[in-house]
């Protein structure tokens, strides 16, 4: 049984969708004023400042940690710079108990939900207090108490998982949804198509949030897809879809707030495409000068999402230059002090090499572990991180 409701025609006509254009929703101009006809979402001062603090925290953290990586204190880092409004604006429109499945550049979501600088640092340095027990590269954060699924490096795998997670939320009837973040590059993966189609078919409370930041490492969006962005794909799956200015905190917030309502109240999944720009390199291992111009970057620096929000807050007299200076100084100091502390903490104990593979260590793996310990006892100077853990054992 086919399900098309199309009318019949008698000459062969093709369509490539060019006549169908999805507009971009904007509210806030760079100078902090609203576009004509735009109405700001209902955000009170407390919430506005919570959002803004998370944005500045993320920016300061990113600047300091990239510098730390350059100094050789950290193996790797990824910045969120330029995308703070897209990430934090959307997270702020969710309930804090909603699940977030991020790609890897969404530390702003954690900052908004209250992940402490200590918690960031413990993961970045993989010390004994890292929730992930030092097993993953820097920025692979996770927090069960903040409903933020641990990051996985393979791209887009989190998308069909979000569909499944949201299906479970629907079955539980707990009134929550799942928001999944990914880039326009990851949207080329098969898992994107699998996850969105299944979400539409099974009607789950999920928000698919695409950060279209223009680049997948060095590959520009024009070499990633031929269509008008990612948004038309949502329509292809009969999914409620919206495109939004990703550097516009108010538009992102309002779009996500409306999307959440559709998801939670009507089990209608939503695709949001946030148009933004990755102002920083892909990661500390990348050098954008090899594939894009300083002029292009300068155009987007003019559209800085944090400055745009600052201008809005300042116009409302909710924030001032002196408060800004104090906040930045406090955050810089906190990041530096915390980094020094986190760096000094010992690595996770040796047994974390074999725990959590299964709920219990199977006999064959236990035997491998005993063999390793005997080896380390023989060459303790070669294994300074763990030699202390194997002394005195049989």
């Amino acid at each position: 049984m086919t399900t098309t409701k199309s009318k019949t025609v008698y000459t062969p006509g093709f369509t490539d969708g060019t006549e169908f254009r999805i507009p971009t929703f904007k509210l806030l101009k760079q100078d902090g004023s609203l576009y004509k006809g735009g109405k700001a979402p209902d955000i009170d001062k407390e919430k506005a400042l919570r959002i803004y603090h998370a944005m500045v925290t993320t920016r300061v953290l990113d600047e300091r940690m990239l510098a730390a990586q350059r100094q050789g204190r950290l193996s790797f880092y990824m910045q969120c710079t330029g995308e703070e409004a897209a990430i934090i604006g959307s997270t702020a429109a969710l309930d804090d108990a909603d699940m977030i499945m991020a790609q890897y550049r969404e530390q702003g979501s954690l900052a908004y939900r209250g992940f402490t600088i200590d918690e960031f640092m413990n993961q970045l340095f993989g010390n004994e207090k890292d929730y992930g027990k030092g097993r993953q590269m820097p920025v692979h954060y996770g927090s069960s108490k903040l409903n933020y699924m641990t990051i996985s490096s393979p791209l887009a795998t989190q998308i069909p998982q979000a569909t499944g997670y949201a299906y479970g939320q629907k079955m539980a009837g707990d009134g929550h949804c799942t928001t999944v973040y990914f880039g326009e590059g990851a949207a080329s993966e098969g898992d994107f198509h699998a996850g969105l189609n299944m979400a539409a078919v099974h009607r789950v409370p999920a928000i698919f949030f695409c950060r279209n930041n223009g680049y997948a490492i060095s590959t520009p969006a024009v070499e990633q897809y031929a269509a008008d962005g990612i948004a038309p794909r949502g329509v292809g799956y009969k999914m409620d879809t919206i495109r939004v200015d990703g550097n516009d905190i108010l538009a992102v917030y309002q779009a996500t707030e409306a999307a959440r309502k559709l998801a939670v109240e009507e089990n209608r999944p939503v695709l949001i495409e946030a148009m933004t720009y990755r102002l920083a390199a892909h990661s500390s291992s990348d050098d954008p000068s090899g594939y894009r111009s300083k002029d292009e970057e300068a155009v987007w620096r003019e559209k800085d999402p944090i400055l745009r929000m600052y201008n809005w807050l300042a116009a409302k007299k909710w924030w001032s230059a002196s408060e800004e200076k104090k906040l930045q100084e406090r955050l810089r100091r906190e990041v530096l002090d915390t980094m020094k502390r986190a760096q000094k903490l010992p690595p996770p104990p040796l047994e974390t090499l074999v725990t959590d593979v299964y709920d219990e260590v199977p006999p064959l793996l236990q035997a491998q572990f005993e063999k390793l310990k005997a080896h380390i006892r023989k060459y303790p100077d070669e294994y300074p991180k763990s030699a202390a853990h194997v002394q005195g054992g049989a």
Partner: protein
């Protein structure tokens, strides 16, 4: 006890799991109203509703991605992949996601509730793409459990154990035996141990080891061998990962000889892993080289399936060669 075939036993296990826990969900291609192409999920949608037993779109990576999300959320997904030959689009979701979910999060999150069912194996004129035995690909992935039942009684008890096991579990069903294998199955809920091989018959001359549909082949071969006067110890490995080294090693220390058989190709097959471990453990006790009777290093054929297949004659010859070495 009731006499039933393997499909009925699997269906009964799913039915009981769904009745016992409303978080158990069964889904996959054609598993809804139709009950699956082999009918393993018959009547489950009728009994438990479309929300708990349903068709998915035709996308294996999506099915397992979806199942991973459900399991992380606290639901108990039992996902069906229609044929094990079609599990490969989901390889990433299984080996990079399901298997590493607990480890990479430091146990903040896990998908231990996940069970993946897939019919595997040849002997049904299925050619390249309805005959494969892919267990060795997954056996190379720490974090997974892999279980293969040999008969209806085992299928019900091992499937219930897989669904209840707190680790992601692949449950490969020998489809050649779906209707061919019948036997007495206990009523009510019971679980058989995962990670434990079972000694089915004690013997003194040679240990013959297999799993799943090969156990039937082994039975025939051993019957021939015993007529020749060879005393065979028969073991069903049952769990491929993590596998029961002790039971196999203990047997080989006694018999001094080991014949391993599986349908999958020789090179990189799981028999190689067993042989390597057992020669380490039993080196001074071995009376003959460890023998492997497997599919050939070819794609699975169609018309010449019988020639390709590691049948009872080939297993019998391997037993004879091992004992007479």
């Amino acid at each position: 006890m009731a006499k039933m075939n393997m499909l009925q036993a699997i269906n009964e296990a799913l039915d009981m799991a769904m009745a016992a826990n409303d978080k158990v969900l069964c889904f996959g291609e054609d598993v809804g109203v139709f009950g699956g192409v082999f009918r393993a999920t018959s009547n489950l949608q009728h009994k438990y509703g479309e929300d708990r037993c349903f068709n998915t779109p035709l996308v294996e990576q999506g099915i397992i991605g979806f199942a991973n999300g459900l399991a992380a959320q606290g639901s108990v997904p039992v996902a069906e992949i229609q044929f094990a030959d079609y599990i490969f689009p989901a390889f990433d979701q299984i080996v990079n996601e399901a298997a590493k979910f607990r480890y990479r999060s430091g146990n903040l999150f896990n998908v231990g509730n996940l069970t993946i069912r897939a019919p595997y194996g040849g002997g049904i004129a299925g050619g390249l793409y309805h005959s494969q035995s892919p267990e060795a690909y997954f056996a190379h992935t720490p974090g997974l459990k892999i279980v293969v039942p040999r008969n209806p009684h085992q299928a019900k008890g091992l499937l219930l154990a897989s669904i209840n096991d707190p680790n992601p579990t692949l449950f490969f069903e020998p489809k050649r035996l779906y209707r061919a294998s019948t036997g007495e199955v206990p009523e009510g809920e019971y679980q058989l141990p995962i990670g434990e091989a079972e000694v089915l018959k004690e013997g003194t001359d040679v240990t013959v080891l297999g799993w799943g549909a090969q156990m039937e082949v082994i039975d025939k071969a051993v019957e021939m061998a015993e007529k020749e006067g060879f005393s065979c110890e028969v073991i069903d490995l049952r769990t491929i990962l993590p596998w029961d080294v002790e039971t196999i090693a203990e047997s080989v220390l006694k018999t001094g000889r080991l014949v391993i058989t599986h349908e999958a190709p020789l090179t990189g097959g799981f028999a190689g892993e067993i042989a390597a471990t057992i020669q380490e453990r039993c080196f001074l006790y071995l009376e003959s080289p460890i023998a492997r009777v497997t599919g050939m290093d070819t794609p699975f054929p169609l018309v010449l399936e019988k020639e390709h297949f590691p049948n009872h004659l080939k297993v019998f010859e391997a037993i004879r060669e091992s004992v007479e070495f």
